[in-house]
Symmetry: C2
Subunit: 410 residues, 2 copies
């Protein structure tokens, strides 16, 4: 027991110190802190130093489970904090734009991913299977809002209309991604049922509606009651418990935990305790959030790419252009005039865990006895997903500085 | 991945809500909150509801590793927070008392444990092996200061001389426990080396001296530098990183992680950022500390005790009296006049993880082909260790209310 605890403490210590040093270095170079954290992860990870190993989204050894959980808790707390600083009314006001942004982003990135994969297939460069192209397209549909939320929060832009459009679109995007995942999984199994799909989507939407609706009705009273309790830290604990509840609920209906955490924050933003809560959650988040972004960097594993390096580079460049361009078209979904559409488009570019899950399903799907996806194809897709995350912080910061008028078109 | 995260979130949610509800109920009944948390753990654990299983200090399954780590992090943060509220100078002033209290407590509880085990052995009730009696005595030597620290902190008594004597004695006790563990392990293996023992003890003491000495010299400058950084939350993160560093260091020299965390708090109490840090660490601790005490309650597993219930009850009653009386004599070690010696004695009663490690070594030690300790004997010892924790909160609260003059003798 003692030894395992020591190893864990050391791993977390290394990750925390590396994150903050790299974050500070990035800020001194006028770059977003989160870019430093991502690069610190790559540096510590298997491709370079190999200091932190046995840590991945899918497998683990030597405390990997704990490190993964601390990272997941970090991004859950980040979205909870962002939710706490967002007003539901303001989000509803830009709801139409959020919906269009999500829809255009999903359609655009699916079409771009499918199209480029198809062209690569026709050229004999990689698989020519239509199902394979569907998987590639699907992988590129799901926006991972963690990094965008972090950049918006760090640069004090959470209160802008652009931020609200992005956050709303990210939630809707997750519902869309869920439906697409259910669809392609059924497609791979050869039995698509429209009824089952509709049911899955309905459950997710009902969960979100019930969580927010009931939450807005019940939680102001619960928080008032907690404020009267004698036990220490009841308000903060109650708030975090509500966050865990909705995060678990979201996972249970196959949404991302962070969507539940964001909804919990939104609900609690409407309580009397909102200001004090915001500050306390921020302190806890300051500690845990960096783990997530270092962790994302740790996932980058280039060790296996050597033998296929040439092919991988070509595929990554082609697919990255498709993934980015496919999402940027969502900027046209912004209805309000005078907003920085370009920044909205860039904010929707990063893909993350959901995309990785698609790719993993593709890797493990067998079609007529052969795997749908080759390992090197999988590696290329993982790299594209990672790169969409890495390009976002710098680009989004630049996009936000651009004036809305000059850059209304993506 | 998604499922595992959901299960973890649900487990932590249940533990957190149960802890706070039980803590609040205890406070309404004018009992310490921590007693409610312990009982909530027993209720959720394998003996009663069995809601949370696969969670133990030694083994795990289904997220057990994560729950255990969160609990350990809780007690580490608790002692860090207590350290932050303690001044090294004030501790040094009662250093002689701390030393005598630790020494008398170790000698008294070893003698009482050995003696009662010997009498039970002579009566043919259980093992008559001298080595077995040594293990029982050794198990009772190591004070686990977590619960006492929590009661002192919750009742606002951390600034008293009694609290400082207890905290100092607990640190010295841990060094003593380390030496005794090394001694009995060597004894069981049949090869005691005085040189190796002295070396082990020296390393631990040098670590503590170096950590505090170097820390007091370096950390004020480090914290000032961190306060000037641009990256978010640098001061809190730096402080927690220092805490993790010393906790890991303490584990590495075979001390308890909480001793390192306490030392880190002591060092940072002398920095300029001390007040802001204290408040922020308290918010984080509010969230994590309850997990530890629910977790301690979860360890109580009475399922295997049924067949030997009669024998176990007799042994537990006899040993519990020995364990308590053996520690209470440490009250005579308090040199200062006018202090509440009784409360110091009660504060040193709880045993914990270190005792459990002794018992585990005993259970797995083979002497001439037979196990040194039978499973039912092990269960009895575990129960005694648990009960010393359970009796402390109420008793300590009562002892602190007693006036020093009436109760100078234990």
């Amino acid at each position: 027991m003692a030894v395992a605890l020591g190893v864990l403490l050391l791993k977390l210590l290394i990750l925390l110190v590396a994150a903050k040093l790299a974050g500070e270095a990035a800020e001194r170079l006028r770059q977003p802190a989160v870019l430093g954290e991502l690069l610190a992860g790559v540096l510590l990870g298997p491709s370079v130093l190999g200091l932190i190993t046995g840590v991945s989204f899918t497998g683990d050894a030597g405390g990997g489970e704990v490190v993964r959980f601390v990272a997941e808790l970090g991004v859950i707390l980040l979205l909870f904090e962002v939710g706490l600083e967002t007003r539901l009314k303001d989000m509803a006001r830009v709801g139409a734009s959020s919906f269009l942004v999500a829809l255009l982003g999903i359609v655009g990135s699916f079409a771009a991913g499918f199209g480029v994969s198809f062209l690569l297939g026709v050229a004999g460069f990689w698989s020519a299977s239509a199902l394979f192209h569907v998987f590639v397209g699907a992988t590129f549909t799901a926006t991972s809002v963690g990094i965008t939320a972090r950049v918006l929060s760090d640069s004090g832009r959470l209160a802008t209309a652009e931020a609200r459009i992005i956050l709303g679109a990210a939630v809707l995007d997750d519902v869309g991604g869920l439906l697409i995942l259910a669809f392609v999984t059924a497609l791979a199994a050869g039995a698509v049922s429209a009824g089952a799909l509709a049911f899955t989507g309905l459950v997710a939407i009902l969960f979100l509606a019930a969580a927010v609706g009931l939450g807005l009705w019940i939680m102001p009273r619960v928080m008032d009651a907690l404020a009267d309790l004698r036990v220490r830290g009841a308000v903060l604990t109650g708030a975090v418990a509500f966050c865990l509840l909705l995060a678990w609920g979201a996972e249970s209906v196959h949404l991302a935990a962070i969507v539940g955490a964001f909804a919990a924050g939104l609900v609690l933003a409407a309580t009397r305790q909102h200001a004090a809560l915001s500050e306390r959650v921020r302190h806890v988040a300051d500690l845990f959030v960096p783990f997530f972004f270092v962790y994302v960097g740790l996932q980058v594993d280039l060790r296996g790419a050597g033998a296929e390096a040439g092919r991988i580079v070509v595929a990554v460049v082609a697919l990255l252009l498709a993934a980015v361009a496919g999402k940027l078209v969502c900027a046209w979904g912004v209805r309000e005039k005078g907003l920085n559409r370009y920044a909205v488009g860039v904010g929707m570019v990063p893909r993350g865990e959901v995309g990785l899950i698609f790719a993993l399903v593709g890797l493990t799907t067998m079609v007529q006895g052969a795997p749908l996806m080759q390992p090197w194809e999988y590696t290329a897709i993982l790299l594209v997903v990672a790169l969409t995350t890495f390009v976002t912080p710098l680009w989004l910061k630049a996009a936000m500085r651009a004036s809305p008028e000059d850059t209304a078109q993506p």
